[in-house]
Chain length 144, copies 2
Amino acid sequence: MTELRIGDVARLAGTTPRTIRYYEEIGLLPPSAVRERGAHRTYAEEDVERLADLLRLKDLLGLPLEELKQLVEAEDARAGLRREWEGGVEDPVRQRQILEESRGHIDRQLSLVRRRRDEISKLEEELLSKRKRVQSRLRELSPA
Amino acid sequence: MTELRIGDVARLAGTTPRTIRYYEEIGLLPPSAVRERGAHRTYAEEDVERLADLLRLKDLLGLPLEELKQLVEAEDARAGLRREWEGGVEDPVRQRQILEESRGHIDRQLSLVRRRRDEISKLEEELLSKRKRVQSRLRELSPA
DNA sequence: AATTTAATTGACGTGAACGTAAAGATAAGA
DNA sequence: TCTTATCTTTACGTTCACGTCAATTAAATT
């Protein structure tokens, strides 16, 4: 159970401690764990991945943090859910709830990502055809 | 030769006059045309498209305006080139220069766009496989 | 136990990308 | 020509997403 501190998490996720504190402050990241005021924050390795995912989504989707928060409002709840899950959930109804919720979050992210992918693809196609036009004009210039 | 004013261009391109002036100010857009101090800026329809392209690149690539400027530093020069071209360029050597430069700009944009597309695609795949894992767990829960 | 290193909170600072308000000037329409 | 809508420049304001002190405190190291 490797204990990570804010600096480690920041380095591993490719960001800074300040950013992590800020994300916690605006509620984008959950408070690292129970700790007394003034004590160091401690994290687990899964937290690194969660943060890295967030940063990737933010970068690739270009969302303001507030929207990102809405989008993954799941993710922090997920930490709770995971704990609940690993604590051993008996009730299959509850299990189904958790899984379906999780799937819902993934689906919302997927739809945004796909929209982006489409926009990017369209842009790529347009650039490609632009390139072809220029290219053919260049060939016309070449003496046969 | 429909004369457009800054408000029209803004509306058509989906932005605001302020943004257009700002882009001009930082040299991302070329000064609309020769005009005396205090006179209204005037634009042509091709300017709308150029602006829209810029906004799209900015949005989809998430570049800071300064980098966007480097990237399409071409585009404003291109306005000049186009005028030169349509003015009728005789020298085939010059024609080739212009076309090759244009292709170079397109290629630089293409490579950035492709990188983004790859990142987005990878993210999509990861989300998909995440979804599948959840989905299969849900199926396991279902009584046969 | 002493020292060094990294973290804490609090608060103010900063750069990017515009928004907005003021005081006019210009252009288009009646 | 008069009015009205839209534009001009100048300049200060604003939001987001952190950066950067400063004064302490907590952990890790020796």
